[in-house]
């Protein structure tokens, strides 16, 4: 399976995402922001970092990158797409996911490992988890405070689209939301960094479960 990792200028978790993809035994493919080509990948990860310095608003400039046109097509066509941290911010700016990520309530950048509950395993990025499973995942962000209009939040909850939820909310996000998916459930955005917990030497490899899900998902689809 080929998993593409988009490299925006200013992204800084691209290498980590590529590494994690390798760790789950998939083939990592670099997708350069300026090339409108997904190189035939089966899934795409928009990694964390500070694309364009997070200037103006996180993700605001990156979402206009050339690579975003084929990516939007891919996502709208049901392709498994994961945005992590800044990647999540890009997906909301691109309207592939609802809502926005505001500045943390504390007004501080926060880098901390927090317990996160997997609410729904029926996405390509959570299928390897059991419902209610608790993963310990690091967050590292300044704008991770998920916000959407009341109706949108209610809809997300009703439709089971809150995929990851903080047990200890590090940023003030509504309903302790750590990650959501789109209505078709193939596009997931999350603030915690699963790719960072990808090796026992780093403390744990719990995060690989999130990424392995997409392998299972692809396998399931083939059968």
């Amino acid at each position: 399976m080929k998993i593409g990792v988009v490299i925006f200028p200013g992204a800084n978790c691209d290498a980590d995402a590529l590494y994690a993809v390798e760790r789950i035994g998939a083939e990592p493919v670099e997708l350069w922001h300026a090339e409108p080509d997904l190189k035939g990948v089966d899934a795409v990860i928009l990694p964390g970092g500070f694309s364009y310095g997070d200037y103006l608003r996180p993700g605001a400039i990156a979402r206009f990158s050339k690579v975003m046109r084929p990516l939007e097509e891919f996502a709208r066509g049901g392709g498994p797409t994961l945005g992590v941290c800044n990647g999540f911010q890009v997906l909301t700016e691109a309207r592939l996911l609802p809502g926005a990520l505001l500045q943390n309530m504390s007004l501080r950048f926060v880098c901390r490992t927090v317990p996160v509950r997997v609410e729904h395993p029926d996405t390509p990025w959570s299928g390897a988890c059991v419902p209610g499973e608790i993963l310990h995942l690091p967050v590292a962000h300044n704008e991770g405070n998920y916000f959407a209009a009341e109706e949108t939040i209610a809809q997300l909850e009703d439709e089971g689209r809150v995929i990851f939820r903080y047990l200890e909310n590090p940023n003030g996000s509504r309903n302790d939301i750590a990650g959501i998916c789109n209505a078709e459930r193939n596009v997931v955005g999350m603030m915690p960094h699963p790719e960072r917990v990808s090796d026992p030497l780093l403390g744990s490899e719990e995060g690989l479960k999130v990424l392995r899900s997409v392998l299972e998902f692809a396998g399931a689809k083939v059968h």
Binding site: P9, A34, F50
Partner: protein, 728 residues
């Protein structure tokens, strides 16, 4: 303004001006005078420290590059090497703390980049005044935000550092940043310009008027006038910095560069003249080819601007096009601004005319001042301490809680949680331990990094304190299981023109050097920051040491937290040396900064630390922590809090309990070992002093009949948020 006023206003002394005239054999024009003034500033020219720095031992088996380059480089193994250096940004941070700290991080990262290394870790060593003061709190908060504000986006994890508070730093905070870079030995780059006819390419941001005369500013005492110099303030652009890193690494990978140099203080002038002087060549810069951010800049302004996020590269003519292409792909500015020449001069051209030209080696060779080293008056008085006058407290629980919640001893979590310490997924042990441990992907190898500074001890005893600083760094690396290899340092002192400060500087260097020799850790790079003074006087003499160590198998490392109940808890190192002199306890509880701290016994120090390190490397010990600020009681509390497991120990030397509990000496390491492994450990410790003091377990900390506290109580005191607004 006449000539005399001009050179004085640029910061040159009469004698220095005379020297310039003599060297040139003529009167310099304004541009040339500007070049000399920035290059002969203390900051760039090391006028007062150069003769002393020669004392540092700088050679060792693993050293690939000692002082004299943008960073020192040591070999790790399997073809890997580490480049590292620490640098100060004290003055800019005093004026504009966020941007001062941010650009400090950016600047040191580019020094590492210039060696051809990928920046992989940042550490920050910070000193502020009393945090009860509102302005101090503002400086502290903004400096920390600035470090994260640059380090986080640029994708280099900030994995360690220190923060200390003392009134001596009130008007003049210290903001030192260290960066470590990883490279293949064969990729080591240097900044020597060679090859007459080669092109000089300026990479990165456009040049503006920012930081004009920043180097001179950094070499001045802070005064009301500093406020007026505010247009000097530089703003960091981490996004541009990140792009610059990636582009330079690609240029390096594709072997497109002859030499590379960052632009720091004194901008193009400093970089070009140093590159030329090192290569024994000349460099011509055409200022009208330099991409500018604002109109109407004079050639001299272009030459000394300190705009951030720029690098200077020497490139063979036939590779220029390729270099420009790589830059374009990254959206990075790049312009050919000059060429390497055979005349040995830094020549500035504007509109085809020579605007100024001076031999590069003269610029690089500032006059050096040696002064007499005379013991200052204050020292004898400060060292006087009659312990009998210090009352023994009644309630040790209360004393310990008070100490644990003191800004100098409490948890630094509220600082380091603002830093991304994990990005790049190599951080094996992050902030909060004795040293950070990093892995090198694709190998079993790891390295550890730490910064240490003991300003108060250096104030009370410059030589002993200097040695203790190096010994502490050595011990901290050993506690995580790393073999200490080499160090970098930043010498933060007051005005060297004051005899007391010069004495502190000279003796600290002596003490550090002795420790380096005894411990076998050479100095491979460093930085000097003098004139750290305000009307309130000089800062504590604060040499900051950044040390790097190697782990052959990074999976065998240790952390401070107690991990199991029932472990044997032992102290390795000489007992009975702990003293209240210069201790945190003496200051926090009794309000005194006094006494002569115990001098490290370097041979024993090394022996003990090396034994512990070997035990860790062999996988026998995984829990270790040195006894440092706050003494035994604080060290035990930290281990219990970190691991969430309590401990019960006895103390019984018959000395005063406050000395036993809170005295400081250095040289001692606490280890916790499962009972079944103890015999093996004991055998390995044969020949060095050690002592079993108790066992882990229970829900808190018990020390003899003196301390009995629950983990929650310890956590409550220790875990305070340093940024929370004080009430009352």
């Amino acid at each position: 303004m006449n000539l005399e006023e001009t050179y004085r206003s640029l910061g040159l002394s009469d004698a220095e001006y005379a020297r310039v005239r003599e060297l040139l054999g003529r009167t310099p024009n304004f541009l040339e005078l500007s070049l000399f003034s920035v290059m002969w500033s203390e900051h760039c020219g090391y006028k007062n420290s150069r003769p002393l720095l020669g004392r540092f031992p700088s050679e060792g088996g693993r050293v690939l590059q000692g002082p004299g380059e943008n960073a020192g480089v040591v070999e790790v193994g399997e073809g890997w090497a580490l480049a590292f250096k620490v640098e100060s940004h004290n003055h800019p941070s005093a004026v504009e703390p966020y941007q001062g700290a941010a650009t400090g991080v950016g600047g040191i990262i580019r020094d590492i980049l210039a060696m051809g290394a990928r920046p992989v870790a940042v550490l920050d060593s910070l000193r502020f005044g009393d945090p009860a003061d509102g302005r101090v709190r503002y400086l502290f908060r903004e400096v920390v935000r600035g470090i994260g504000g640059y380090g986080n986006p640029v994708g280099v994890p900030t994995v360690g550092g220190e923060v200390e508070f003392a009134p001596a730093y009130t008007g003049n905070p210290l903001v030192n940043a260290m960066c470590v870079g990883l490279l293949r030995v064969e990729d080591l780059m240097r900044s020597r310009a060679v090859g007459v006819g080669n092109r000089v390419i300026l990479l990165g941001a456009r040049t503006g008027r920012d930081g004009i005369h920043g180097a001179t500013f950094a070499s001045d005492e802070l005064s009301g006038e500093s406020e007026a110099r505010r247009p000097n303030v530089q703003v960091g652009d981490p996004f541009a910095g990140k792009v610059l890193i990636e582009a330079c690494l690609e240029l390096r990978r594709r072997d497109l560069l002859v030499a590379l140099q960052d632009l720091g203080a004194a901008g193009i002038t400093s970089s070009a003249s140093e590159m030329a002087a090192k290569g024994g060549v000349g460099i011509e810069i055409e200022t009208d080819r330099v991409p500018l951010r604002e109109g109407g800049m004079e050639p001299w302004e272009v030459m000394i601007s300190e705009s951030q996020e720029r690098m200077l590269a020497v490139v063979e003519p036939e590779r220029v096009e390729e270099v420009l292409k790589v830059a374009a792909r990254y959206g990075l500015g790049a312009a050919v601004v000059g060429r390497v020449a055979d005349h040995g001069e830094l020549r500035v051209l504007c509109g085809g005319e020579v605007a100024g030209s001076v031999p590069a080696e003269y610029l690089a060779d500032a006059p050096a001042y040696e002064r007499e080293v005379v013991e200052p008056e204050y020292l004898k008085e400060a060292q006087r301490l009659d312990v009998e006058e210090i009352p023994v407290p009644g309630d040790f629980n209360a004393v310990l809680l008070r100490m644990l919640s003191h800004p100098n001893l409490c948890s630094r979590r509220s600082v380091w949680e603002q830093y991304d310490y994990q990005v790049r997924t190599n951080t094996v042990v992050g902030p909060g331990a004795d040293a950070a441990v990093m892995r090198i992907k694709g190998t079993k190898l790891g390295y550890a990094v730490v910064t240490d500074g003991r300003g108060k001890w250096c104030y009370l005893d410059p030589e002993g304190g200097g040695a203790a600083t190096v010994a502490e760094a050595y011990r901290n690396l050993s506690c995580v299981g790393a073999e200490p290899v080499a160090l970098t340092n930043c010498l933060n002192f007051g005005s060297p023109e004051k005899p007391a400060v010069y004495y502190q500087l000279a003796r600290s260097i002596e003490g550090m050097s002795r420790a380096c020799e005894a411990l076998g850790t050479p100095v491979v790079s460093g930085n000097v920051s003098l004139y750290n003074e305000t009307s309130g006087g000089a800062v504590y003499p604060t040499p900051v040491v950044g040390m790097v160590g190697v782990l052959e198998d990074v999976s065998c490392h240790a952390t401070p937290g107690f991990g199991r109940e029932g472990d044997v808890v032992a102290v390795v190192g000489a007992s009975g040396r702990a003293s209240l002199a210069g201790s945190e306890y003496l200051e926090i509880v009794h309000g005194r900064v006094a006494g002569r701290p115990p001098e490290p016994d370097l041979a024993l120090e090394k022996e003990c630390a090396d034994r512990v390190r070997r035990l860790i490397a062999e996988g026998l010990v995984d829990t270790a922590h040195d006894i440092s600020s706050g003494g035994l009681a604080v060290a035990l509390a930290e281990m219990a809090i970190a691991g969430g497991v309590g401990v019960e120990v006895e103390v019984g030397s018959g000395r005063r309990p406050d000395v036993e509990l809170f005295g400081e000496a250095g040289g001692q390491i606490l280890i916790a070992v499962p009972g079944e492994r103890w015999d093996e450990v004991r055998e390995a410790l044969a020949g060095v002093p050690w002592q079993i003091i108790g066992r882990t377990g229970g829900g808190g900390l018990k020390i003899g009949g003196f301390v009995d506290l629950k983990l929650e109580e310890l956590r409550g005191a220790y875990g305070r948020d340093l940024f929370a607004e004080e009430t009352g």
